[in-house]
Amino acid sequence: MGNILVYVLHYEGAFNKNSLGAVSEGAKLAGELGVECDAVVVGGADLTNDLCATLGSYGAKKVYKAEGAEGLAQPVIDVMAKVIDDNGHSYALFGGGLLGFEIGAGLAARKQAGVTMEVTGVNVEGGKLVAERPILGDSQISVSKYRGDLGIIIGRINAFEVKETGGGAAEVVDVAVEYSPWSNQATMVQRGEQRGADVNIEDADILVAGGRGLGKAEGFQLCEDLAGAFGGAVAATRAVVDAGWYPYAAQIGQTGKTVAPKLYLAAGISGAIQHKVGMQASENIVAINKDANAPIFEFSDLGIVGDLNKILPKLTEAVKAKKGA
């Protein structure tokens, strides 16, 4: 049995929270398997040895570090394939997110390995890892077992909790990689552009979130009015942020923010998995949607099937009246 290798994403000298969660999970599983958990990082000068060594406190023993392009999947596939070839890792683990999916899938192709994505739980059975993945709108859990020398597990974001293990500094190992020609055929022109105003939604106790059901960018006024009445903030889905209706900083979900307010009121949001993963920890979820079959009603505490254009203005008035009373 080889070790577990965890990919760790970073940006501007800080590691990604979901990646750190994956290291914690990898360390826990490695302990149960009687192997070690290693990490792999790819990037430039901001990946100092001191920074990489801090992954030891989440349970990583060795950190394989390669110099390469950041924010792109294919160079990381080259690095991970080399590290696995040289060191015989049995599992590759990812915390999720866009790059995790791309790298994990590409690595599966390269190494003829099995891959499972959107994993929410990993268990040890008979000395092997078994991955659990919710499917069909989370109505069932599919259990994946791996054949062959390498199993690839891509977590759902926020599935793996970040835990400091009290471990010391990890050993940093430099890896020299000859990148595949096609890995050099994509180049980052600009990374991490923030579109729209910088708004803070993570500290709000009450969030009113809007989705495509608002119909148009102006529809967000209804959300702003209600959030104003509550003294809360406004959040948005990826679909409307990509459409330019609302700032990226307010986006919930897979490539946006993860929130857990006291009240999350979703207006015109269908409740796709990519959105759900960013808000399902909210204490109270209220959903307004005209489609009675919208998945969001499966995980809301209070669901209203109706026209948000009629309901939101009256709700805003009622909240104002209640607060004034």
Binding site: A105, A108, M188
Partner: protein
């Protein structure tokens, strides 16, 4: 330029999806439709063709699946593809995402496209990883979830949202690009296009026709065994209000919020 668009037949969103307990696979019977995400990929191909920045000789729709998958190809052709290729073989049934990507890559190798487009995810298995698998086999650069794409000489300038904001990436052709639904608004096929779709060339290919190694596909060739299922932890169903009288609905919402001290 030759563009191949990978398409997939998925259960209609209106049909309840289920796992067939006898096989442990998705029950793919019932109403089927072209994966809605794939219509954005076809539209993206059409916009490159009509944009004029680069001449497009041909748009080819490619799918893998049982006989019924032909309907997805007809739909793809009605939306603008010039012809289609259907990879179908009993030996492919039960392939996992890695095996499916390998098989599709073998079809694409025989087509030699300059650009492979696909939808960022499918409406059933949510396998939004297939583009990365295909790209590694084809040894092409790849990007997923692209929401803006411009032809720039022999390259594409692509934009997408990633973990830290919006990224702009220059990708040399040939390349594999999966597109997000924000990239465009797909057109509706004309009645004439729908009627004509069945007359456009459709090649049916078996595994052997494109050199697929049978030991790498199907349930036995897949490296993930996911024949076991269990129920998720039960969550208490929430309260549902059908809005008939909005004043009354709002009163109920306020009372519910008040009970929980949220106002």
């Amino acid at each position: 330029m030759k563009i191949c668009v990978l398409v997939k037949e998925v259960p209609d969103a209106a049909v309840e999806k289920r796992i067939d307990p006898s096989t442990g696979r998705m029950d793919r019977s019932g109403e089927k439709n072209l994966n809605p995400y794939d219509t954005h990929a076809i539209e993206a191909a059409m916009q490159i063709k009509e944009g004029g920045a680069v001449p497009v000789e041909e748009i080819v729709a490619v799918t893998m699946g049982p006989e019924s998958a032909v309907r997805a190809l007809h739909k793809a052709v009605s939306l603008g593809a010039d012809r289609s290729v259907h990879l179908t073989d009993a030996a492919l049934a039960g392939s996992d995402v890695a095996a499916t990507g390998y098989a599709l890559a073998k079809v694409l190798e025989s087509e030699q496209p300059d650009l492979v487009l696909l939808g960022q995810q499918s409406d059933d298995g949510e396998c939004y990883t297939i583009g990365a698998v295909v790209a590694d086999h084809l040894k092409m650069p790849s990007l997923t979830q692209v929401i803006k794409m411009d032809v720039d000489g022999g390259a594409l300038r692509c934009e997408r949202q990633a973990e830290y904001g919006y990224d702009t990436v220059q990708v040399q052709l040939p390349a594999v690009i999966s597109v997000g639904d924000a990239i465009n608004e797909p057109r509706y096929p004309s009645l004439k296009a729908i009627m004509g779709a069945k007359k456009k060339p459709l090649d049916t290919k078996a595994s052997g026709d494109v050199g697929i190694d049978g030991s790498l596909v199907g349930a036995d060739g897949s490296r993930v065994d996911c024949g076991e299922f269990k129920a998720p932890p039960a969550k208490a169903a929430g309260k549902i209000i059908e809005d008939e009288d909005t004043n009354e609905t709002v009163e109920q919402i306020v009372a519910w919020l008040d009970e929980r001290k949220l106002i």
